[in-house]
Symmetry: C2
Subunit: 190 residues, 2 copies
């Protein structure tokens, strides 16, 4: 997301355009998969001019990254239940809902496709990933400040390895997430 866009966001028409373009991107990803469409196709579906997409986002990759970030933050905000156990279960369940939803796989593919080593060599995915890791670390720091009993080795990467990675990989490989699966992962972590 660039500053120009952040500044424009609150505006009425500009906010509408933003929402229309985001929706168009999400639909195209679900229908065709990441990377199988152009800025022109996004603009056409959103009913805006190509030029306004380029002016606002600069490139398809920047737009895709903006969509993914906005969706991740809207769909699985960091919970604050008062206990680390509760926070992790709530967060894990939100992520599970997010990635098993109608276009959840598309979203995970997008996050992966935007990873910094991706074919587009983007930095976009770094923001996405740093955002997620930062949210997790604050959850853990808050628990320690509260005096919860938090294993010394438990950091954001441990949550990535033991809770997020198994969910992402199962979804990426087309498997279901069984009821209670997230709780099993959190139990194992704690």
């Amino acid at each position: 997301m660039n500053d120009g866009q952040r500044a424009r966001r609150p505006g009425g028409r500009s906010a509408r355009v933003g929402a229309q373009v985001h929706r168009a991107v999400t639909e195209l990803i679900s229908e065709r998969g990441y990377g199988n469409f152009t800025v022109g196709e996004v603009a056409a579906r959103a009913g805006v001019a190509d030029s306004s997409v380029y002016r606002r986002w600069g490139s398809l990759e920047a737009l895709l990254s903006d969509v993914a970030l906005a969706r991740l933050n809207a769909r699985s905000p960091m919970p604050d239940t008062g206990s680390l156990d509760g926070d992790l279960r709530t967060y894990g369940a939100a992520v599970a809902r997010e990635i098993t939803g109608p276009d959840g796989l598309a979203l995970v593919r997008l996050a992966v496709a935007l990873s910094s080593d991706g074919p587009q060599g983007l930095k976009a995915g770094d923001a996405l990933f740093a955002e997620r890791m930062g949210q997790l670390q604050s959850m853990l720091d808050r628990a320690r400040e509260r005096g919860d009993d938090v294993p010394g080795s438990l950091d954001a990467l441990a949550v990535l390895d033991q809770v997020l990675a198994p969910m992402y990989i199962r979804v990426l490989f087309g498997m279901r997430l069984a009821p209670g699966y997230v709780d099993e992962l959190v139990d194992r972590l704690l």
Copy 2:
């Protein structure tokens, strides 16, 4: 991989064509990422006619799946070290080498892109995934037959969740795999 191809494999010229086409696919994936090239471009780079690619593989998806399967099996065969601990560390290390190699990320992306829920709606990834899970399960069954002390809950999916998934996700998100990382994952699993 179709039977026709398997039957033709041993043949001299046909084996050469197969190797040239596989190499062309691997290069194109590394350069452009999965899905960003056509059968025509593969054929041109391999120096063969489009028609022979279509005759042998039928579609780009079938060819991509064949390449991924051949590479996975060639690069991380299931070890038989005499102990489950040794097998898992050897296998994990082989997978780590495979996915952190020059075109390892491309291979992981390919496996993911071929997952059955993928935009192409392929079954191709199922073969890839079933192959891997089957290899893991035989390793575990062999250990149990040998009388090794194998936790009752330890199955191929547990290895996927706790050893393979963290490695895949870290690579997909552009992170390094630190020395000793695979052993930490195996220690945690056992």
